[in-house]
């Protein structure tokens, strides 16, 4: 069975670990994590995830900078992204939704809800 590949890019290492642990309780998921934008971009090209969970407020490179670079790179341009942030900022949401047609979720989010949202994005992209 082809596992659904998820990449989590978030500077909170514990959050990355726990989301990975929760998603991998379901054997149909395989999860990789990166704790900064640069590593995340490299991993996105190598790992070729079906979906990326991307934190917005990160040091060095923000989630939106990561997203912009991904959308300019042919290797990552088509990967759907779920933006995740502790900041419920209307501008962020509009930017995520209108500019990139990406899903924007607000932390804290529980595991069942996050998984449901990931599956929703994957289904929309025809990945089951």
């Amino acid at each position: 069975m082809n596992k659904k590949k998820v990449l989590i890019i978030d500077d909170e290492e514990s959050f990355c670990k726990l989301v990975k642990m929760n998603l991998e309780l379901d054997e149909s998921f395989r999860v990789e994590t990166a704790t900064d934008g640069k590593k995340g971009l490299e991993l996105a090209k190598r790992f070729k995830p079906d979906v990326i969970i991307l934190d917005i407020m990160m040091p060095k490179m923000s989630g939106f900078e990561v997203l912009e670079k991904m959308k300019k790179d042919p290797q990552t341009i088509t990967i759907p992204v779920v933006m995740l942030s502790a900041k419920e900022d209307l501008d962020f949401q509009v930017k995520a939704a209108q500019l990139y047609d990406e899903l924007y979720l607000v932390k804290p989010i529980d595991a069942p809800t996050l998984k449901a949202k990931i599956e929703e994005v994957l289904t929309r992209r025809g990945i089951k």
Binding site: E12, L18, L25, A86, V106, P108, A111, P112
Partner: protein, 392 residues
């Protein structure tokens, strides 16, 4: 050459301050024209009368035994602010002084009373006091606004820092629940308590964020009763109502008005939750909605620009409880941000503050009536625009 009578007549006529002479039995023996003019009596109407006729009802204490004794003891009373009363009942502020004129024996004494009309001075003092109050209020509002602005900035900064660890806690609890799916008793209860606490912390952070935001309203033509129902459903989903009876009386076909549904729902949820929490064990909550034309102007208790004119049509939403009521010392602090009587397990103390701000944004007003030991009724008044009235 002037004789004594001429001098007395001249004094009577030309002394500009009101003057009277009173004998030992408190009878008025003599008054000058200035006094008659001040209190509105004609010549002959005061002489022979008891001196009480001159003093305003609230000031009769000046004639108390202790004051009379002081006068006899010291011989003078100087510059006391008091009130004279005119023939037609008006009170005039005066600066009162008196001196004792001793005769040959105790029965042969008189008191000479002079008074200066200080109406103008009082008026200026009152204007100054009002101006001072206005400046003080403006300064308080400025300080409050700055304080709230600082709290807002702090809240949004802290919110981000708190939401990240909360996300980790919630994901951690989810993982443990998944790893121990058959847990019962204490373990299961512990998971539930941890999750509930994390969710509560998140709710508090969200409320703080609401407080920090100066959100604009997203208004649409809405049915208030529908919003009330959805608020009630939300509360019912979160609170056990085992011993609390809820009665609703929503008037059908009340006019739809332009409101922000979500923000108004937030207000109703806050108020219903307050009503629930006001009743420690059991009681009743009455929720009522109706429209009416105001018979008199209505001023909100917030003392801001929330008022309605007589004749305006309004929607009224009432949420009443049979709880403990609000003590007077608490009542005046109700709308202060971060003021709560609910302790650690209650709210954050900004529910009513946020609610009032939302109603303010809708140009409505909140009115609270409370009787200790009986309960509290919160009424919200929202304006029905004239064009809506024409379309009805």
């Amino acid at each position: 050459m002037l004789d004594v009578k001429d001098i007395r007549d001249s004094l009577n006529k030309f002394i500009i301050d009101p003057l009277m002479v009173v004998d030992g039995q408190k009878n008025i023996c003599m008054v000058n024209e200035a006094l008659r003019y001040l209190v509105g009596y004609k010549e002959g109407e005061l002489v022979g009368k008891k001196v009480e006729i001159i003093f305003a009802d609230s000031e009769k204490s000046l004639l108390k035994k202790s004051n009379v004794e002081k006068l006899i003891g010291t011989g003078t009373i100087l510059n006391i602010e008091t009130y004279y009363q005119t023939k037609d009942g008006r009170e005039i502020p005066v600066l009162f002084s008196s001196s004792l004129m001793r005769g040959q024996d105790d029965d042969d004494s008189w008191v000479v009373c002079t008074a200066r009309d200080i109406t103008e001075r009082k008026k200026v003092e009152e204007e100054l006091r009002a101006a001072y109050e206005q400046i003080k209020e403006a300064q308080d509002q400025l300080v409050q606004a700055e304080k709230l602005n600082a709290i807002g900035l702090l809240a949004s900064g802290v919110a981000h820092e708190v939401k990240n660890p909360l996300g980790i806690i919630i994901q951690g609890i989810n993982y443990l629940q998944a790893k121990f799916p058959n847990s019962k008793g204490d373990i299961n209860n512990t998971f539930s308590m941890m999750m509930e606490s994390a969710n509560r912390a998140n709710r508090i952070v969200n409320t703080l964020l609401d407080f920090a935001k100066a959100k604009k309203l997203e208004v649409k033509l809405e049915d208030i009763n529908t919003i009330l129902e959805s608020a009630l459903e939300l509360v019912k989903a979160n609170i056990k109502f085992e011993n609390i009876n809820i009665e609703t009386d929503k008037k059908k076909n009340i006019p739809r008005i332009f409101v922000d549904k979500n923000r108004l729902e937030q207000v109703f949820v806050n108020l219903i939750m307050n009503a629930v929490q006001a009743m420690s064990e059991k009681g009743k909550i009455f929720i009522r909605s109706y429209d009416k034309v105001l018979s008199e102007p209505k001023q909100g208790i917030s003392g801001r620009n929330d008022y309605f004119k007589a004749g305006e049509k309004v929607l009224v939403i009432e949420i009443a409880d049979t709880g403990e009521g609000i003590p007077p010392e608490v009542f005046k602090k109700l709308f202060n941000p971060f003021f709560t009587t609910k302790g650690l397990h209650g709210g954050s103390g900004i529910g009513l503050y946020v609610s009032r701000n939302i109603i303010d944004l809708h140009k409505g007003l909140i009115e609270i009536q409370s009787t200790e030991g009986k309960g509290t009724k919160v009424s919200i008044f929202l304006r029905v625009p004239k064009e809506r009235r024409q379309n009805e």
